[in-house]
């Protein structure tokens, strides 16, 4: 992370505001329909998505070998002939690899020497319904194992019950437990019901010191959607305007295609600007998106439509 950590501010519920869902949906729809990225520009934007990607495996059947294979893909996300065809001086790399706490050590070892950080979910991911001391202990464990980034989950009940001080205190405690590691606060927006709740939860997370706010665990019924992303981006902007503090954004879950990668980057470019197209402030949490990006980039290089089975598996 090339950005300094986001310092906590005090809880300020006056910063909350209502979000009009139909208007957010219209904006999200037109935002991506009104920008078209073609040819070399599209290739560059897809490469940028790789650089911003938290290549992720968060499954019950994860094993050390599975994690090592993912790390190998993070080190070499594209086939050599694609890299050469794109005129790149060196092999790109993903923004991070994201795993469960017990897989952190394996990932750290597999990525040794690459500079690719390991991100770990923690705090009773994905539901977060564990005693707070255990959740904090889990954060400390993951950090000790070598995770440089911690993706925490919030207690949805605090949002749904309007218990903002409890939410603030919980996230602030988690931030403290993270120490030098950057903290991404997963809001599990699919569980929050309204965009107004998404905005409020975003604000509390940032006030409590989250370095990133993140949409989803990937396990909720609805994961990253553009209207949710739009709402969170506006919260980031408003928090920055109010405090001068800069917070990153990570959509996660349900994003599978190269088109998704372009759409989310267009959202960042339009709503927050160029700085939020760098891995220090933007991550795409995805598992299968990279395979589609690699196919599209091969098509750009060869002019032929590509097949995933000819590329290295993540």
């Amino acid at each position: 992370m090339d950005h300094p950590q986001n310092p906590a501010t005090t809880l300020n519920t006056d910063a909350f505001r209502a979000v009009n869902r139909p208007a957010a949906e219209r904006r999200a729809a037109s935002l991506v329909a009104r920008r078209s990225i073609k040819g070399a520009h599209q290739a560059a934007w897809l490469l940028n998505a790789i650089a911003c990607m938290d290549l992720t495996t968060l499954a019950g059947d994860d094993t050390p070998d599975r994690v090592r294979r993912l790390c190998a893909k993070a080190r070499r996300p594209l086939a050599d002939h694609i890299v050469a065809g794109l005129g790149l001086a060196e092999m790109p790399r993903t923004g991070a690899v994201c795993v469960y706490p017990t897989m952190v050590a394996t990932a750290v070892q597999a990525l040794d020497g690459t500079g690719i950080p390991v991100a770990s979910v923690a705090t009773g991911f994905p539901a977060g319904l564990m005693p707070l001391d255990l959740r904090l202990a889990e954060i400390r464990y993951a950090v000790e194992q070598g995770a440089e980034e911690i993706d925490i989950v919030i207690t949805r009940a605090h949002v749904l019950g309007g218990n903002w001080s409890a939410l603030y205190d919980e996230i602030a405690a988690m931030k403290e437990a993270c120490g030098a590691a950057h903290m991404k606060a997963i809001l599990a927006t699919g569980d929050l019901g309204t965009l107004t709740n998404v905005y409020a939860a975003s604000m509390v997370a940032m006030q409590a010191g989250a370095d990133f706010i993140k949409t989803s665990t990937g396990k909720e019924g609805v994961n990253a959607t553009l209207p949710v992303g739009l709402t969170m981006c506006r919260a980031i902007r408003d928090h920055g305007d109010a405090t001068g503090n800069i917070v990153g954004f990570k959509p996660a879950g349900g994003m599978k295609t190269a088109k998704d990668a372009l759409n989310w980057q267009v959202l960042m470019a339009e709503e927050l600007g160029r700085d939020w197209l760098r891995p220090g402030l933007f991550r795409l949490g995805a598992s299968s998106m990279l395979a589609d990006i690699e196919r599209q980039l091969e098509h750009h290089v060869t002019g032929r439509y590509a097949a995933s089975h000819r590329h290295a598996l993540a």
Partner: protein, 760 residues
């Protein structure tokens, strides 16, 4: 082209051009003739059609002459009866048109973009899909017409004149309902943008439109004027500027041609303190930076609550920076080219006037050429020309308000009344503003939403008539014929006429709930054969002025519930019944009985004419409210002086209007007798004001009064002067037939369409 590593530094979008190859191939068919009687004529006198973005000629098209227009009208006339007689054919053909447009969607979109300069994203994603939607919707109306509009007939030949801002979409709005109703059409596209209409003509051939049912004549204003003036055209439908609308109103006055006008606007965009400000900022983008601001219903006057003005202004200015102005064929362009250098010069001139009048200007950026950046004019006063005048460019003004009533006052301080956009997360407040704003279309937390099943059209100088939905279909149908009757005679105010019958009775004007002497201090003898029925006060234009003022003061009437007005009308029936014998000296008893029955009839209706909830888009409530005009002028028929007067007064006041009535000239006394009876029946003073005198003079003053919102006229001999004078504020004039019914009520209200998108 930069290398990929270079692009990774800038993260620029890069070019994303849409191919114009197919459209340019089609353009090689130029020069174009006119489409008359199912075929293209040989090209005649030609003029150039240009691409404003590239400043180059696209094609040459024919300037239609008077003779060409005549040939087109004759072809339309010849084709119309068979077309009207076959609704199943109409449904099939309209359906085929919808499909053909979808099958050629990209060609239409690109051609429209080349011709108009609007971005391909908008032609592709907005214009053309709405065009197809319009034809589908009206294919259905052709099928349902006899069920849903029993007894209605087509007007016949419709002359249709459309503007350059949405060339094909406005064609669809005009042609689809006209054809569904069984009319044939002669359409004149705008001189700047005729090309998609010519492509549409080719589509008509593919879709099996019978020869002569659709005729397209290209040309300038002279062609339009010839169409308006043609004696064999039954209806004119025009979309365009208010100034041209006024010319057309005067030109068609007294011709018997039906008329609908969709004219200019200066629509308010109201941002309440509790609005989602980001949503509202995007609303401004959709309101005035859509289609280069060349939108009649554009929300060009931002009114923002003082308490959030600073934040709103900052976000709006920031948002202007991410708007991309440039090549309309590029798929990442937000604002394309202005339609013509002349229009760009007009925009620049008006902005310069606005700045000279004190506006603080914020501008985005635009390339060289026929492009205009997004412009915000801040710190403007209501007197600033850019607040008052329609600019038709990407220019928006910003004013602040303190309270909801002040927001409304500012919103309604305009001669226009086309649309309004209201932003508040409080639906209680938003609906209150929606109910009170003078606009034919209101969007709550949204803007510029359109659908074939949502009525669209204006109030005040924004025109009259609605397009879309059932209301739009009604505008292409005729029901009943206006009253025919002899011209009133000449009033001789000198004494010595007729013999009295019993004790002398005094009749006065009825104004503001009181009996008033005529301003001129004169009366004339009302005769029945040799017998003198009485003296009628000789009203003049000052009495009309006083009556209109009194009517405006009685604003509480429109706020009463229909039930409350029904009670008053029932009470009036009682009063009339009580005065049967007295009235019998003036009118026959059967007319009195019919009058009492008519009061009962409209008392029954007073709480029953409901609006509609239109089926448009999912998760949108689209209301069509029926609102009274406010102050109406009623010009009574000469015959049946009591029943005739009540036939107009009752539906008007049942719907909540206040009225100024010009009584029958031959026998005004019965109507004047109504005055005190209205008062005795609890009709508040000023709701009904009755003036007698020379009908032509009084009608002229009433029709020429800018604070009268609409006229119903049952005196055909003054229709010409009434319609001509109505052009001043573009009040609608309804030439009333004899009788009673729902049509009378619908003529006394205007539709306000309110869009409410919802979602938790």
């Amino acid at each position: 082209m930069p290398s990929i590593p270079e692009i990774l530094e800038t993260m620029a979008y890069g070019p994303a051009p849409e191919s114009a190859a197919a459209a340019r191939e089609w353009l090689t068919r130029a020069p174009f003739g006119l489409f008359i009687g199912g075929d293209f004529t040989a090209p005649g006198t030609l003029f150039d059609v240009r691409d404003p973005a590239r400043d180059e000629g696209l094609a040459q098209v024919t300037q239609a002459s008077d003779a060409d227009v005549d040939a087109a009208v004759q072809a339309a006339r010849k084709a119309q009866p068979a077309w009207e007689a076959d609704p199943a054919l109409r449904a099939r053909v309209l359906y085929a048109l919808a499909r053909q447009i979808q099958k050629r969607e990209r060609l239409f979109a690109v051609l429209e973009t080349l011709d108009n300069g609007k971005p391909i994203r908008e032609t592709r994603d907005i214009d053309i899909p709405l065009v197809a939607r319009h034809f589908y919707h009206h294919a259905g109306w052709a099928t349902l017409l006899s069920d849903e509009f029993p007894g209605a007939r087509a007007h016949g030949v419709c002359g249709q004149i459309i503007p350059w801002n949405f060339p094909l979409l406005m064609l669809a709005w005009k042609v689809a309902p006209a054809l569904a109703a069984g009319n044939s059409v002669v359409l004149k596209p705008a001189e700047d943008t005729p090309l998609t209409a010519l492509l549409f003509a080719e589509i008509c051939l593919e879709a099996g439109v019978p020869p002569g049912v659709v005729n397209i004549v290209t040309g300038d204003g002279a062609t339009g004027a010839a169409l308006v003036a043609h004696p064999d055209v039954n209806k004119i439908a025009f979309t365009g500027s208010t100034e041209v609308g006024q010319v057309i109103r005067r030109a068609t006055a007294g011709s018997g041609k039906a008329l609908t006008l969709e004219l200019g606007g200066k629509s308010p965009f109201i941002v309440m303190a509790d609005a989602d400000l980001d949503a509202a900022v995007e609303g401004v983008v959709d309101a005035v930076w859509f289609n280069q601001g060349e939108v009649c219903c554009a929300g060009t006057r931002i009114l923002v609550a003082e308490s959030v003005a600073e934040t709103f202004r900052k976000r709006l200015i920031s948002r202007m920076k991410t708007l991309r102005v440039g090549d309309p064929l590029d798929k990442s362009t937000d604002i394309g080219a202005v339609v013509s250098p002349a229009q760009l010069a007009r925009i620049r001139d008006l902005v310069a006037q606005g700045v000279a009048a004190g506006a603080v200007v914020h501008e985005g950026t635009a390339p060289e050429g026929c492009f205009c950046p997004p412009i915000l004019l801040d710190e403007v006063s209501p007197a600033n020309p850019c607040v008052a005048e329609e600019i038709f460019g990407p220019v928006v003004t910003l004013q602040t308000f303190r309270t909801p009533p002040e927001a409304l006052e500012l919103a309604n301080a305009t001669r226009y009344g086309l649309a309004a956009s209201i932003w508040s997360e409080n639906l209680t407040v938003a609906m209150d503003l929606a109910a009170q704003v003078k606009a034919g279309v209101v969007w709550i937390n949204a803007t510029n939403m359109f659908d074939a099943n949502a009525p669209f059209g204006g109030m005040r100088a924004s025109g009259f008539g609605r397009e879309g939905a059932r209301e739009g279909m009604a505008a292409y149908l005729r029901k009943g014929d206006p009253v025919q009757g002899a011209a009133p005679g000449v009033i001789d105010p000198l004494p010595g006429k007729g013999t009295p019958d019993g004790l002398d009775r005094t009749h006065k004007l009825y104004i503001g709930g009181a009996q008033k002497r005529a301003d001129g201090g004169a009366s004339w003898s009302v005769l029945s054969g040799a017998k003198r029925l009485g003296h009628a006060p000789l009203g003049n234009r000052k009495d009309i002025r006083n009556a209109v003022e009194a009517a405006h003061k009685a604003s509480g009437w429109g706020k009463m519930s229909g039930h409350q007005r029904a009670q008053v009308l029932y009470f009036l029936a009682e009063t009339l019944d009580h005065h049967r014998d007295g009235l019998a000296a003036l009118v026959p008893m059967d007319e009195i009985d019919a009058s009492i029955a008519r009061v009962m009839y409209y008392a029954a209706w007073a709480d029953k004419l409901s609006g509609a909830v239109h089926n448009t888009q999912s998760a949108h409530v689209t209301l069509a409210m029926r609102e009274p005009f406010g102050v109406m002028g009623l010009i009574c028929a000469e015959e049946a002086p009591l029943l005739g007067a009540l036939s107009l007064i009752l539906p008007a006041i049942a719907m909540g209007n206040r009225v100024v009535v010009v009584a029958s000239q031959a026998n005004p006394l019965a109507a004047l007798e109504l005055g005190p009876m209205l008062g005795a029946s609890d009709v508040p003073g000023g709701v009904v004001n009755i003036v007698s005198g020379p009908v032509a003079e009084l009608a002229k003053a009433l029709a020429g009064h800018d604070d009268v919102a609409a006229i119903a006229c049952a005196q055909p001999t003054v229709a010409q002067i009434v319609e001509a004078e109505s052009a001043g504020n573009l009040k609608p004039v309804w030439n009333a037939p004899k009788g009673q019914g729902r049509d009378w009520l619908e003529a006394m209200v205007q539709v306000k369409t309110i869009w409410v998108p919802y979602g938790a």
